[in-house]
């Protein structure tokens, strides 16, 4: 397994290099001058070109694109992501500030997705064609179809503006720094409820549908009939035999959904003024902040690679028939 992981990681290097190259050239060859965005609006179009040239030199923007590319690649290899034009700070420190916020959102949304989606899918499958099953089916379809940002705005209007139950935006209260540890934890949880719900509910709806069909499929397998025939309790049949097998493709689904959750977080972060990586990426694109655009794209690419790898590895862990080491019992 270790060898497999190492091989996959090595294979990811040319892939990431390709993504880095394409992204770099798309960003740099797009028409427009980043200096137009660098300057505060009141100076735009009026600044002294000599000083502009000095700033250009400072960021290496006066060099040919290929030179800029090689320099950027060299810096990237050393872990130097450059300096943001907008924030005038190292991109790495900006990312380090923002990543925890995005992780908080996406990891909790994944957990929410798993708990709610799998549970609803199981209930739906076990009680097939019942009122519960039909309600879950209808609810899932609706939630899966509703745009996340719209749902977010509606929930904020209902639960924040009108009822005042949850905060309208942001990650913490204004007096967060004055609260006790317990108060801080509650405060963070309180701010997380709505964004996590919005981010997680659509994928939970998808998971529920997938889980239901997968479980129904497994429940009709012969080994389940055999288990029932052996007189095992229905709960044991369901949890120990059916669910475990039905979960295998779901794990793959989770691995793949990591980058999609990050994409979804962009909109949710915007609506809830959540200072994560998504918001940073959107601001960077709007402001032609090349170093930040490149860094966030690379982060997303790395997440896709890691997501895929995690999916494959977890597949092998859950399903003993699958082996990547060449010594397994099964088809790997």
């Amino acid at each position: 397994m270790t060898r497999y992981i190492a091989r996959r990681l090595l294979q990811a290097v040319p892939l990431l290099l390709g993504i880095a190259t394409i992204t770099f050239f798309i960003v740099h060859l797009a028409p427009g001058d980043p200096m137009d965005m660098y300057l505060q609006p009141r100076f735009q179009g009026q600044a002294n070109p000599e000083v502009i040239e000095l700033i250009r030199q400072k960021y290496g923007l006066d060099q040919p694109v290929t030179v800029q590319y090689l320099r950027w690649l060299g810096n990237l290899a050393r872990g130097d992501l450059g300096e943001s034009f907008r924030y005038r700070r190292p991109v790495a420190s900006l990312l380090l500030e923002r990543i925890p916020f995005t992780l908080q959102l996406t990891v909790l949304a994944l957990i929410f997705d798993a708990l709610v989606g799998i549970a609803l899918g199981v209930f739906s499958a076990v009680k097939q064609y019942s009122l519960l099953d039909r309600s879950v089916t209808l609810g899932s379809l609706i939630l899966y179809s509703v745009p996340g940002f719209w749902l977010a705005l509606m929930l904020v209007l209902a639960f924040s503006v009108n009822l005042g139950w949850f905060p309208t935006s942001q990650t913490r209260s204004l007096d967060h720094d004055l609260l006790s540890i317990w108060g801080k934890t509650l405060d963070l949880a309180w701010h997380t409820v709505l964004p996590v719900f919005v981010l997680g509910i659509a994928s939970a709806a998808g998971t529920a549908r997938y889980m239901r069909s997968r479980l129904l499929e497994v429940l009709s397998e012969e080994y389940i009939l055999a288990a029932r025939g052996r007189g095992l309790r229905e709960r044991t049949v369901l949890l120990n035999h059916a669910l475990r097998n039905a979960l295998i493709p779901i794990l793959t689904l989770y691995g793949m959904s990591l980058p999609f959750l990050l994409g979804g977080a962009v909109l949710i972060e915007k609506v809830f003024a959540w200072p994560g990586m998504g918001l940073l990426a959107v601001e960077a694109i709007g402001g032609r902040d090349f170093p930040v655009i490149l860094a966030t794209t690379m982060m997303a690419a790395v997440l896709v690679v890691i997501g895929n790898l995690l999916a494959d590895v977890s597949y092998a862990i859950v399903d003993p028939r699958v082996s990547y080491g060449g010594q397994g019992k099964g088809r790997g």
Binding site: G32, D36, G164, T168, Q170, L174
Partner: protein
Amino acid sequence: MPRRVARRAGAACVALALLTIGCEGARQEGGESSPAAITVLDPAEERVLGPVWDDTPKFLMFLPLVNFERGSSCGEPTPALAERWEHSPDYRVWTVWLRGDVLWHDGVPVTAGDIKFTVDLLKHPDVLNYNAFGVDSVEVLDERTVRIFLTEPGRWPLEGWVTFYPKHLLEELDPKEFYEWEFWTHPVGDGPFRYVRHVPRTMMELEANPEYYRGKPRIERVILRFVAAGSGTGLLEMRSGNADLTSFLRPVEAKQLALDPRFRVHYRVSTSHASWLVYNPRNPLFQDVRVRRALTHAVDRRALHAALDLPDDLPLTDAPYTVCQFERRELAEPWPHDPVAAARLLEAAGWRDEDGEGVRERNGKIFRFMTLVPPQEARAALVLQAQLHRVGVRMELQRLDGSLIAERIREGNFEAVIPPTWGIQPVLISSPGGSGRLNAVFTEAYASIVGLFDAAGQEPDFTERERLFRELARTFRRELPATYLYPRASPIVARRRIHGFDHDGWIPPAWRWAFGGLEWLWVEAQDRTP
């Protein structure tokens, strides 16, 4: 059975916990304002008062040499950190005398050394801050006097934008890390408010400075609450009562809040930023002044303002103006919206709709042109397109990013354009650094206008500058190289409990920074939330 009971009890506990969290949160959030405290929404973060953002909130904490504010005479500066000033006849050397009663928030007096330190810092090769553009050097004459040498004749000391930093706290720090200094997240300034605390990415709390040289502001506490712009969140925060004041809502959002009796909407009208439809003089379509005037007559600017959710009493004109001219409403008379006159002028220029298809032609060519439109002007462009169509002119639209449009203007590669945020002036005038104009096309066609723009832009003398602008306005209105659309009017939405805005509608443009004006606001005792 006991297991089922336990499950239900567990579910009830979770629900109760969520409810408790909700109530707890509501309690914290509900305590919106203690006496004379206001919460202001801002789209920045905890470095908002520093040079990275370099925006109006910095005036809460740091003083410029001069101010532009209520009571100032027609856009002329009033003393702030500077008590008085003098300039050499060629406006290259300025001597500035500082006030003696201004203290940094840690009690140390502000001196001439702080002015020199700041300028040298901003010019440092590792910093390269554009706020020091135009300053050659600063010489300290004594504790309270500096001499500022400019690279070209100008009014840098009187621009009122640059704020100054405490030498005694910063001189040991590495300029390489200037934009990262921790100082910017808990700064020590010399302005009307001083730093209390901040919650990263969430808020910054400031309190009134009792040592402020003009006396302690009546607003005792200001909370800057950081919320991203353009997401609709600002509107929701105002509606839910979590904020008292904001200046970054979109006009349509401000209009919605204007219907809510809790709020009052003021507009800050920019004198330097306006939207124009600029015609390329090299294009044969626009070489006839009758055509340019016809297009101006065809535009219904009141309808345009309504479509853009702008106030319906925005001043109209057809020439550039100064702050003073705007405040006194000494604006060039606008060409009226008159489709009949537009049609008459177009026909006189040979453009007729012979085939009755709704578009005018001349010598077999239809009257059609392409306008470059930045994203923020897309809506205005659609309204214009419809209005021009009514007089038989087909305006096609090409939506482009602002920096691309700037490039196309520089190259002269356009038929018509609505320039991005910076308006018409950079299209026509030389930059202060003598960089040459963005587009030589206009120099050829409108030499007198460009000459006057250049002269007025570089004229340091206030009276002479006003005279040049009056002359410019007359020539501009006659030649019409562009059609004026609307001035940039930014809504400032405030809860009614906040007093001190000049009057219900307009905020004079000279009082141009919402945050610099906070020291003039107050909350009546009966309006304070306990």
